[in-house]
Amino acid sequence: MDKNVAIEVKNLSKTFYIPDRKRTTLVEYLKAPVNAFRGQRFEVLKDISFKVNHGETLAIMGNNGSGKSTLLKILAEIYVPDEGKIHINGSLVPFLELGVGFNPELTGYENIYLNGIILGMTKKFIEKKFDEIVDFAEIREFLDLPLKNYSTGMQVRLAFSIAFMSHADIYLLDEVFAVGDLHFQEKCRVVFKELKEKGKTIIFVSHSPELIKSFCDKAILLDEGKIVKYGNASEVADLYVKS
């Protein structure tokens, strides 16, 4: 594979099988031979192909239910594709949600370690970066309080500060910018710019055409699991606004 390519997706398809009634009990399974094929096949992604080079930023756009999140989850290796191939060149950290594993009962201090380690950091690394995380999140005086006593803004800030410490070549972001107040969104943009300047590859889902126009190189517009348009970010964003 070409060394410049960070992610290459070829003819990717994913189908979810949705039974008429969800069979999750044993008896229903024993009856399965009779009605195993009843139900609906739901093709979430159909024949998706694209390529992202190192240092590029790709936006994935589309209405709700168009398959954006499923695509992101397949790239994050949470779902397995049914058909097609994915090549990932480099280390990848997914942010499908900020603060994965956060527990409201644990203190801010404990949650920093929990979340950081879940994101792939080592304990030693977090120890080294601890002060930086706490300062960026501006929560030092609340470190020993359980997370449930934090305001939503504080929680998001903390989650973001931890996420920002992770080192990877490729970042997957699922509408992370939609959270937080204006001040925080501004902060996010600065971080985003920094990542870009460092030459990181970013794939992100967004509904905001202006954000995409200002940050992304390429974009994909999905509709009902198919790529409607793939190419220059501002062209795709314009098409999305029109549709």
């Binding site: 999750t24 290796e77 779902y79 997914p94 990877a168």
Partner: protein, 257 residues
């Protein structure tokens, strides 16, 4: 990129936080670990020692049985729930999922070791003589027991996500297994037919190793070593099969939540 060190940290982080959360906001906290088996033991001792003609060291015999079966119940239950209670993390990020099962079994194992400590305190008070070979035999038994539980958890964690009835089934089976294991009684007093059934239960043989090693030292028979070896080999085999099953099914597990 996840490193080996991250896997180790993740394993530790999972069982330490789960352990913390389990006893948060409870007054007695950590003491629940020993309160549960000890109170079951006390009630059973009071009843059975007045009903049965009990032999020497019956209290220690029963205590070891209760602690062991309690470990089995708890560990299997934790193992069953292990993947399910981590749904919110599994659906958001990829990591070696078996870590979740390992950490669940570890929590139960730590609880067991603490209770075993209590057993040794009682044994000391009762002037029970321990011998090195006896302790080694019991240790082999514990290793076999942990492997047995791990293998079961590998199956149950997956099945518990795919079929929700498994939880009720396991609850029922655990109660049946309690009576199918010589916790209170001695296998040899059973009629031949029932004894054959109880002997099919691997826990019976593991318990015989533990008791043989820790309680019946003077007459610890040599055939127990052969048994220990056989049980170790079989449980190891079971772990390998369980792991293969787990690996085979885990890839698509996110679709079943």
């Amino acid at each position: 990129m996840r490193t080996k060190q991250n896997y180790i940290d993740l394993y530790k982080e999972f069982f330490i936080t789960d352990f913390k959360l389990r006893y948060k906001h409870s007054l007695l906290g950590f003491f629940w670990v020993i309160i549960k088996p000890l109170s079951i033991f006390t009630v059973m001792y009071l009843i059975w020692s007045s009903v049965l003609k009990t032999g020497e060291n019956f209290a220690l015999y029963l205590l070891l049985g209760v602690i062991t079966i309690n470990f089995f119940n708890e560990a299997v239950t934790f193992g069953l729930q292990s993947l399910y209670i981590k749904t919110h993390i599994i659906l958001k990020i990829n990591f070696p999922r078996e870590i979740v099962v390992f950490s669940a079994v570890t929590i139960a194992t730590i609880n067991f070791l603490i209770n075993l400590g209590i057993f040794f305190i009682f044994a000391f008070i009762n002037h029970l003589a321990l011998t090195l070979p006896g302790v080694i035999l019991a240790f082999l038994g514990i290793i076999a027991l942990v492997m047995f539980i791990l293998a079961i958890s590998m199956f149950l964690s997956i099945l518990g996500v795919k079929f929700h009835d498994i939880r009720h089934l396991v609850e029922l089976l655990l109660q049946l297994i309690f009576w199918g294991t010589p916790v209170v009684y001695d296998v040899n007093v059973l009629p031949a037919k029932i004894r054959d059934v109880v002997n099919l239960n691997p826990l019976t043989h593991i318990l015989v190793l533990l008791r043989g090693g820790l309680l019946n030292n003077p007459q610890m028979s040599d055939h127990l070593w052969g048994n220990a070896l056989l049980i170790l080999v079989l449980t190891l085999l079971f772990v390998i099969i369980g792991y293969a099953f787990f690996k085979n099914n885990i890839k698509r597990i996110a679709e079943y939540f």
